[in-house]
């Protein structure tokens, strides 16, 4: 399966298992979504389970919270992560705090899916990685898969989770893995083992990292597209990097991260999002706090620049294997 098919399968499986699961968003119903993730669901489950919505992100999330208050499990699609901001009040002030403020009287088991990330010539408003806005919010879970197998297992886990989940989907990975070499043709998921996705129900833990590439010399903390870029940089530099795919950004699997850094003594954090106050800052701080005596070198961060995401300068902006590899070398030489 592609990541798109895997996500669709996750929705299909959960909708079939639980009548409380409803799916809606802009162009999500009849048309099946601008990225085809919800294709066929309305025909199969009917318009009351999968439907089109007005162009109102605050409305999508607001009604989803009300539905959750009733007892449904809404799965909302924000067409691009770049357009989630009008829903910020409902996400931050309402969904994230519903359980806490009502002492469990009401909860908000809402899943908010949104395609994110760059590398597709999406320019300023089709490329952003806003995860740090959400990892900062107590009460939210923020998740990002890097391959079809994880995408399905994590989305099922997100929908079944009783906490609100921000589910970020790197659209650059929708059709195939991407290591940052934009000059090469895209390899489809059908030719990759992680494109082998079971048809039925399975789920992954919603707070567990995976070791994407085992290694001994340094630890790379990455998620989404940058997992592939980091693995590529390891091959190209010959540095035996251990690439950890966080999968769950927050709450996160700190134990896996700390065990790796204590083993390697070096750490490089990689994300597409802008640098300052990005999620990488939290990762670096946690590693520094917990692994200070094991560190052989300063923690490196390879990120997007502190600029809006440009169009023409896509590959100067996107942290490709070249820039990531340079950081590996700096970490090894320190």
């Amino acid at each position: 399966m592609t990541m798109i098919q895997a996500l669709r399968s996750a929705l299909d499986v959960t909708m079939a298992r639980d009548a409380k699961v409803v799916v809606f968003g802009e162009d999500v119903g009849y048309f099946g979504g601008v990225f085809r993730v919800t294709e066929g669901l309305q025909a199969k489950y009917g318009k009351s389970r999968c439907f089109d919505a007005p162009i109102s992100e605050g409305g999508l999330v607001g009604v989803a919270i009300g539905m959750a208050g009733y007892g449904l499990r809404p799965v909302v699609e924000i067409q691009f992560a770049d357009y989630v901001y009008p829903a910020t009040d409902q996400i931050v002030s309402e969904a994230a705090r519903m359980r806490y403020r009502s002492a469990g009287d009401f909860t908000a088991p809402v899943t908010i899916r949104m395609p994110c990330g760059g590398g597709i010539y999406g320019g300023q408003t089709h490329s952003q990685s806003p995860e740090a806005f959400f990892t900062h919010v107590c009460g939210l879970r923020t998740v990002m898969p890097s391959n079809p197998y994880d995408a399905k297992g994590l989305l099922i886990a997100a929908i079944e989770c009783n906490d609100p989940v921000i589910f970020l989907e790197p659209k650059r990975l929708y059709n195939g893995p991407f290591d940052g070499h934009h000059e090469r043709p895209v390899v489809p998921w059908s030719r990759h083992p992680l494109g082998m996705v079971p048809e039925g129900w399975y789920k992954l833990p919603i707070d567990a990292a995976s070791i994407f590439r085992p290694g001994k010399e340094l630890t790379v903390l990455a998620y989404g597209t940058m997992v592939w870029v980091a693995a590529c940089a390891a091959e190209e530099t010959g540095i035996d990097a251990e690439v950890i795919d966080l999968r769950a950004l927050w709450p996160m699997d700190l134990e896996t991260v700390l065990a790796s850094v204590r083993k390697t003594g070096r750490c490089v954090v990689v994300h597409e999002a802008t640098r300052t106050s990005g999620f990488g800052a939290e990762l670096a701080a946690l590693v520094q706090e917990h692994c200070f005596h094991h560190l052989e070198a300063p923690i490196e961060r390879v990120t997007g620049w502190d600029t809006p995401y440009p169009h023409a300068q896509e590959w100067d902006y996107f942290p490709g294997p070249g820039r990531v590899g340079e950081a590996f070398k700096r970490a090894m030489e320190a």
Partner: protein, 411 residues
């Protein structure tokens, strides 16, 4: 030289500022009984005139007149009067408790008691209200809600059902159809629509009732709620409580000048009413009409309740700095308790003596509840929920980082 005079920014002002008298001529009032009552399956278009008029039942003599006069028995009306009196006495008592620093903050609904109380009488168990912080009448009208529990929330004491996490008055009571109150204005208006949509998805017969003030209609969620309610024909009552004031801001600055909030509903394709919010009978009749519409799948109704915020915005507010001190006395729609009392006396089911007796009973009841609540602590005496509970309920299960932080606090 331009042929046009210079443009000028228009900034609305209330007619009455401190030391002046408000000219209430801006209120579009209709005589009691004058406004027609359409069938519950009416189209939004057919409510256009109603959105600029005012549904009223009780006339100046306290008689119920016109097509909206509900067929309520005297016992129900007495129960309504009692609930309004209870709400006002509760508010007065809690205001004093705040001044005594037994609670940090309070918000009265003085003058607005009829809206929440009569509306709650028109709903059924299982329906869900999405209130603001000024609909305590929805809870106090119910015999199955304990005032002690409400006061424990206000005092953030060891019996506070919200474990001291919430500012006073931000109640949550699912079992009483009272959704968790948020400090963020208007958010619940959209959530109410979603709850109604969920009831429709589930094939249920329960309905939602969303609440918002005049000031908060300027928030984007107001418009969002109307759009979604209309698009999905959600079984929801969208209540706009126009009490003329948003803290110090007159309703004209919220967009009320030369128009009505009910008219917004019609513009969005929603049947809309504008109702005398100080007329218990009109509130009940309009609420029942809207509830019936929703329950019969005819879709949402928007109701603008015209009332007056008689008290300060909150215990942190001093209205004498921005409006006339005698404004409520001059408000043309009067006091909801006085009006229902006059009606009940007029139909021979109430008396001044009964009123005084009831007042004394309720005062004693509220005082006893306060005494009971204070036994579980107040903000003053430090009998608050443990600091360890502060870390609970952020997530369903406590993640590792919160367990570490709790340990750091040593609790």
């Amino acid at each position: 030289m331009s042929e046009y005079p210079p443009l000028r920014l228009h900034v609305p002002e209330p007619t009455g500022r401190p030391g002046q008298a408000t000219d209430f001529g801006y209120l579009r009032l209709s005589p009691a009984g004058a406004v027609r009552r359409p069938a519950v399956d009416t189209s939004h278009f057919d409510t256009q005139d109603l959105s600029y008029a005012l549904v009223r039942v009780l006339d100046d003599e306290g008689q119920a007149v016109g097509p909206w006069a509900p067929q309520l028995d005297a016992a129900t009306l007495e129960r309504g009067l009692r609930a309004m009196m209870k709400t006002r006495i509760f508010d007065a008592r809690m205001l004093i408790a705040q001044r005594q620093k037994k609670l940090s903050f309070y918000m009265q609904c003085l003058g607005e008691e009829a809206i929440a109380v009569a509306h709650s009488f028109a709903l059924e168990n299982g329906d869900m209200c999405f209130p603001t912080y000024r609909q305590q009448g929805l809870l106090l009208a119910r015999d199955d809600v304990s005032m002690v529990e409400m006061m424990c929330q206000l005092m953030s004491n060891v019996r506070d059902p919200l474990k001291g996490r919430q500012l006073p008055v931000m109640y949550s009571m699912k079992r009483a159809g009272f959704f968790s109150v948020s400090g963020n204005l208007a958010t619940q208006f959209t959530q109410a629509v979603g709850w109604g949509m969920a009831s429709a998805i589930a094939g249920d017969t329960r309905i939602a009732s969303g609440w918002i003030g005049d000031g908060s209609t300027a928030e984007s969620d107001f418009h969002t709620a109307l759009t979604f309610a209309h698009v999905y024909r959600a079984p929801v009552i969208l209540n706009v409580v126009n009490n003329q004031w948003a803290i110090s801001t007159f309703q004209a600055i919220a967009g009320g000048e030369t128009t009505t909030f009910a008219a917004r509903g019609v513009g969005c394709g929603i049947a809309s009413l504008r109702v005398d919010g100080n007329d218990f009978l009109a509130v009940h009749a309009a609420s029942a009409w809207a509830a019936e519409r929703a329950r019969r799948n005819f879709g949402p109704t928007l109701i603008e309740w015209v009332t007056y915020r008689a008290g300060p915005h909150s215990t942190s507010d001093d209205p004498s700095k921005y409006r006339p001190a005698d404004d409520w006395q001059r408000f043309p729609l009067g006091d909801p308790i006085a009006r229902l009392k006059a009606h009940l006396i007029g139909i021979g089911h109430w008396s001044e003596a009964q009123h005084e007796q009831t007042k004394r009973e309720l005062e004693a009841e509220v005082a006893a509840a306060q005494k009971e609540a204070e036994r579980h602590g107040t903000l003053l005496d430090g009998q608050i929920p443990s600091a360890a509970t502060m870390f609970e309920g952020v997530y369903e299960d406590m993640p590792a980082h919160l367990r570490r932080q709790r340990q750091q606090l040593g609790v």
